[in-house]
Structure formats: C-alpha cells, structure tokens
Symmetry: C2
Subunit: 235 residues, 2 copies
Amino acid sequence: MDASTRRGMTVVGPAAQRAAAWIAGCMRSFLPPGHIDALKLADRLEHRQLRQGQIIFTQGTHPDGVWMVRSGELELVAGRGQDRVVVGTLQPCGIAGDVPLLLGKPAVCTVRARTDVQSSFLSAAGFLATLDASPALTRAWLTALAHRHLRAQEAQVRTLHGSAESRAAWLLLREARDSAVTCSQGTLAAMLGMRRQTMNRVIKDFERQGLLRVGYCRLELLAVDRLRQRAQDRA
Amino acid sequence: MDASTRRGMTVVGPAAQRAAAWIAGCMRSFLPPGHIDALKLADRLEHRQLRQGQIIFTQGTHPDGVWMVRSGELELVAGRGQDRVVVGTLQPCGIAGDVPLLLGKPAVCTVRARTDVQSSFLSAAGFLATLDASPALTRAWLTALAHRHLRAQEAQVRTLHGSAESRAAWLLLREARDSAVTCSQGTLAAMLGMRRQTMNRVIKDFERQGLLRVGYCRLELLAVDRLRQRAQDRA
DNA sequence: AAGGCATGGTCAGGGAGGTGACACATTGGA
DNA sequence: TCCAATGTGTCACCTCCCTGACCATGCCTT
C-alpha cells in the first residue's frame, strides 16, 4: 500500500493520480470527461496482485470488497466438477464483487484469476462510502452495470439456441484479445454448457477449414470475418 | 394522463402521491424508508395501459422511455419464428427500457405485454433528469439493476446445464405467481431454449406424477416441494 | 532429467431432444 | 354463431451431442 494514499482526501499522491487516470479511462464512456470524482475513488483503492488460479471469493460467501481488473483476466464460475459452468470472464476494466455487496446477498459465482492479474481492490465500506459521496460515480457505476447486464443478456440469447458450431464461433469472437483466445478448450466448453470433446471437435473442424490455429491453451483466429459468418449460421 | 401531474414539482396531486407510495413499495429494499425523492420521480410518471400482445419497443430500436410494471406481465423476446428466445419476464415492479437508454444503444430484446398491463411510463428525458436530480434514486436504481443482473446470471447457470426435467422444474418455480404459471407451453419452452414438444412431454410427466395440473395457458403447481427437488436433480 | 498433472486428440455407442406431421381444444373477434 | 388463430397432445424418425474410454502431448516442479 502506498503511503500517499494515507494522507486523506486533500493531498493526492502520484499513485492515486495514476489510478484516477486509469479509472477515468475505464469509465470514459460513463463519466463526464475530466471529472474530479475519479480521484475520490482512486484514493480509496489498494493495489492487489493475484497469482494464476487464485480465488478471490467463493460462491455462497460474502465478498469483502470490490475488485477492478487492470491487467489479466478473471473468470466467474458456478458449480464444480462435471457441472462446472463459466458464467463469464472479466477483462481489463471488469468489476467483480459489487453486485453481492449492493444486494447484501452472497455471491452466486466463484471468481478466479485465469491468469496473473493486477487489480485494484476497494473495501466494502470504501465502496459504499464512495457511492454515498459521489453521485457522479454512482451514475457511472449504474451505466457500467447496465453494460455488463446487456452483455449477459446477449450471452443468454446466444447460448440458448444454435448448433455447437455457431455458438462456439460466437464465443471465440467475444473472448478474443488481439485475435487470440488464451484458455483451455475445457473452459471454453464450460462457457457454453457443452463438453470438452464436443468443443474439441468443433475447434479441429475450424482449424481444418483454416479459420484458426490451435496451440496449448491458445487459439489464434485467422479469419475473423468467416468466423463471424459461422456465428450467424443457424443462430 | 392526470391533470395533477402537470402542475410542476411544488404541488403534488393525489395521483402522484399514490404513484410515489407504489414506487416506495417497489424499491422499499433499495431506498431509505420514507425518502421524499420518490415523489420527485412520481411527479414525472405517466400512467399507461397496455393491451395483451402489445409491443412497447422492438429489438434494434431505441426505446423512448422507461416502463415500470404495476400489474400484469411483460416478456423480453429476442429473435423470431423458430429462433424465438424469451430472455426473461417482468412482473410487478419490473423495469424495462432503462438499460438501452443508459447506454445509448438500441435494445437487444423486444418487450411485449404477455397480459393486459398497467404501467407507469417515464420519458427518456424524465428518466435521465430524475437520475441527475436525485442521488438517492440513482443509488436505488443501481441496486435494482444489480438485482436484475443477479437474476439473469442465475438463469444462465440454470439454462446451461441439466436435463429438460430439472430445468423445467426450476423455471416453473421461478415463474409461478400464487402457485400458478400463466403462459403457453411454447413460451415456457422458449425460455429454456427447448422445443414446445419437449416441454409438453415434461409437463405431462409432471402432471402424471401429481406435481401440477394442466390448463389452457395455465399450470397450477400442486407440489412445490417435490418440484424443488426435481429442479436440483442433475443440476 | 524425470515424474506428475493438466490439456489435447480421438473414437464407438447410446440416448436425449430436435423435426415434421397431424388431430383436437380453446379463445376471441367478425 | 362461426371462423381463424393460437395452444395442446402425441407420434415416428433421426441427428447431434453426451458418455466413457484411451493415449499423446505440453508444462511445471523437483
């Protein structure tokens, strides 16, 4: 924890300023540009590094704060073993833990670091205090949550119907960063409620058709346009 | 439209007061009790009656306001024909249209009145102005949206896995009002991404086992506890 | 270098659910 | 009162995906 974050609200250290700049970047579409309130939030943040595989909170428990992803990826998991379902992933600027805190209910998902993750942590008290202190941030948070909700609804529409091929193509396009998807085929399957074997069959078909290249825990998308077409067939 | 809603913010008519009481009831878990801001919102509301089957906005268009359900049921639909998917339903206190307005994006679902519906309508401008004017209401709205988001995530977890039986049992429990589900079997099937025939098979099985009674566009749940058990088998 | 563990690749068999079809019931409006 | 639209009930067929199994490969730790 940076000493400058201890000095209170009036004096703001360089770490907090960097954090504020990052937050403003994250919420650039949700906050009036250059709004000073980002600093109020940045001041309460605490940097946290997560190792790959680390679990930050578990299904059925109350998170003790909010995590905001700065780099790396988190995944939201429900169930275990054969019934493991990956409800979603959080890439940079993603937020975890706020919904259970707002509702005072235990989390419905376990949140796990898929890669090493740099994150900003905001304690439960700090989170609620920030919302009370800054209407502009509350409004921005509302918009950010609306964004996540829309994404979840889209996912539901896509996972309810369509062949394994079309759903897989859609998922790959959604999960890609720089035309590459970096997670195991088993995890991809768990995002669509299908089995590893089925996902592997689809992926190898795609590879044979030159749509992508397969590596270890890595898929490189070679023909995004043709994949997009596959995603729309029999939607 | 009530004349009293035209008199401005200072004088509040009885209709607005009734609306405020209703809103306070809806958001009782989200707003500090007795908070005066409910009146600010109630003052902008306009009563709207919807006939069964009426569509209030369509997938791909921009809603011109926010609808809040006072009685009856709305359904959120995506796709058409064979690919029709029912993403969710809104029962009393449900809200439609706010997410697209907040994001400035077109709606991903068509919203349709499943029954005759009494609703309160809030224009787009009124909605945004209300959020700007009342931090407490913004905060309440954030919590209400968190609630919907949690519900959507639960739905996704349940629809990704499990047999037709367990998913159907879960859905019936969720959609029931007073131990009865009032919609067609086709619509129930569309909520789970399955076919009418499959849903019918499951329902008739349930009926043979005494779990429910089948009517025209109506299912009466007779053994909620045993249904709940069915919902957990092979989750 | 070696071992353990996670992941990738593949196959045969079986079953759950989709497909298309048809008859009948119910509802609500002309 | 009749008719069209919508919903219910059921069937035979067939496809797609799950199941369980097995081995190969890549990665990390010791």
